[in-house]
Symmetry: none
Subunit: 297 residues, 2 copies
């Protein structure tokens, strides 16, 4: 039995004086009201309503129960209101800019779940590898994978993004496998544009930092393209592990120089430095932290 539905029906019957009118106000049929009241009476073992023609009135027990039930329903509504408004169900449009690769590979399922949780929200997502200004370009939040940096923009770190040096086994068979960072100078690199390291790779290990200017043959601002070209044996790429994950698992790519790491990147949410972050932006960012914070980059 839908106990809450029964209580609402009962309270409305007592308030309105009839099943039919209660049904009209609750948008339920007379038979539904009748069943609710009947089941409530059965479960309590008490008659609550005296049915006379064209009128329904509470019994003495019914009147006492009505007072308590009405109070309980009001308290429940108040509790719901209070908790909803403490974090009022966000509505409106949330505009998000995210990097292409991350957007296509990782953002979809998370956004789907976010939408399920906050059905009143509408999301506009632009996948672009251009670093868009969230203020000037009209986004609520911009997701970026970047190195740790201090910036005038306000950012929240979502998750670390590990990068690896990798190439296809066929490349290593033809060109040999670099053993130390300096070996990379004699190899073809597939380079990401727009990163601060530009065409110079920094790799750090127990023996300190290495700055390498590899012989780059490709510079592109999309790591998926770099991955795909690397898979075809055209060079060595330095790309986020999450982009290479499937290729690594299948053997299409192999990582090298495991004792060296590139400067850590992270996924950041960048948002306008307003005094109060809007609720929907905060919820979205919190949601990303919750979902991606547990992921191993």
């Amino acid at each position: 039995m839908d106990k809450l539905g029964s209580l609402r029906a009962f309270v409305k019957v007592v308030e309105s004086g009839s099943f039919a009118e209660a049904g009209r106000q609750l948008r339920l049929s007379r038979s539904a009201i009748s069943k609710y009241i009947g089941e409530l009476e059965t479960s309590l073992g008490v008659q609550l309503i005296v049915r006379t023609t064209r009128h329904a009135s509470p019994t003495e027990a019914g009147q006492r129960y009505f007072e308590r039930a009405a109070s309980i329903l009001a308290e429940l509504d108040a509790a719901d209101q209070a908790v909803s408004q403490s974090q009022s169900a966000p509505r409106g449009i949330l505009r998000v800019n995210a990097p292409m690769s991350f957007g296509t590979m990782r953002l979809g399922p998370v956004v789907a779940d976010f939408m399920a949780r906050y059905p009143e929200l509408q999301l506009q997502i632009v996948l672009s590898d251009d670093l868009l200004d969230p203020v000037q370009d009209g986004f609520d939040v911009t997701l970026r994978i970047a190195e740790l940096e201090s910036s005038s923009l306000v950012a929240r770190r979502i998750m670390p993004v590990e990068r690896i040096v990798c190439a296809a086994p066929s490349y290593f068979e033809r060109h040999g496998k670099p053993q130390v960072p300096d070996d990379l100078r004699r190899h073809t690199s597939l380079t990401y544009g727009f990163l601060l390291t530009g065409n110079q790779w920094k790799l750090s290990g127990a023996d300190g930092d290495h700055w390498i200017q590899p012989a780059w043959s490709l510079c592109v601002n999309n790591a998926e393209v770099l991955r795909d070209v690397a898979i075809k044996g055209q060079g060595i790429a330095l790309i986020p592990r999450f982009i290479a994950a499937d290729a690594l698992a299948s053997g299409a790519l192999a990582a090298i120089l495991p004792d060296y790491t590139a400067p850590p990147l992270a996924l950041y949410a960048i948002y306008p430095p307003t005094r109060h972050l809007s609720v929907k932006v905060r919820l979205f960012i919190d949601f990303l932290v919750e979902r991606f914070g547990k992921d191993a980059g």
Copy 2:
């Protein structure tokens, strides 16, 4: 959504610290609890529970909501109790006939609770495996475990009763374990009298229905006796699971032929086909449905 169910699930999760434990206490599956909490959060537009591995704890909003929800649930129970008890309780004598095994094993605690709720009632219970006519023999209600059937008697289905084929491990050690229903022909069966299947067992599986006339050495109209004889290794029994439950748990009995099922039985309440079922009978039957309806037969 069953809002009250969600509230109970939520309160129990906060109290117990986990979805799994809340499920155990509420006799619901983990996925049911997960759905309830998820729907509650969606409907309120608020995250109430932080899920970490092996632990669930309330968010700040969730803690506040928990306090109000727990209070509301307590008030509702109190209101129900107050109105149930205020009613001039049903009085008089309720005469019940029930099967011996079910009566001795399952009915006592339920009857005790029923009597607590309706202290003005007096119950006369006759445990008998004879199928007594509720009109002729003066009972208000007769409980029977039987196969689904059409009958001129009016009946209300209380709960399903699953049967299993089982014997003591010592029996299997001496005689081998049947792998398919037909193997039962070469085994000693302990047979229940009075059932429609009589001395012929019907077992159904993916390969169709099997009618087996096992070599019976005992035919008795009491499944407890069958269980006890089976425990002593004297044969294979086809008996209700609730009767065998303790022996199965302790290892005194082992079930076989899990891919096959006997025709489903159910516990029925049979009552006179009068126009208005008396209040006390209706309350008793509803009470049984409430208590046994959720049990796994």
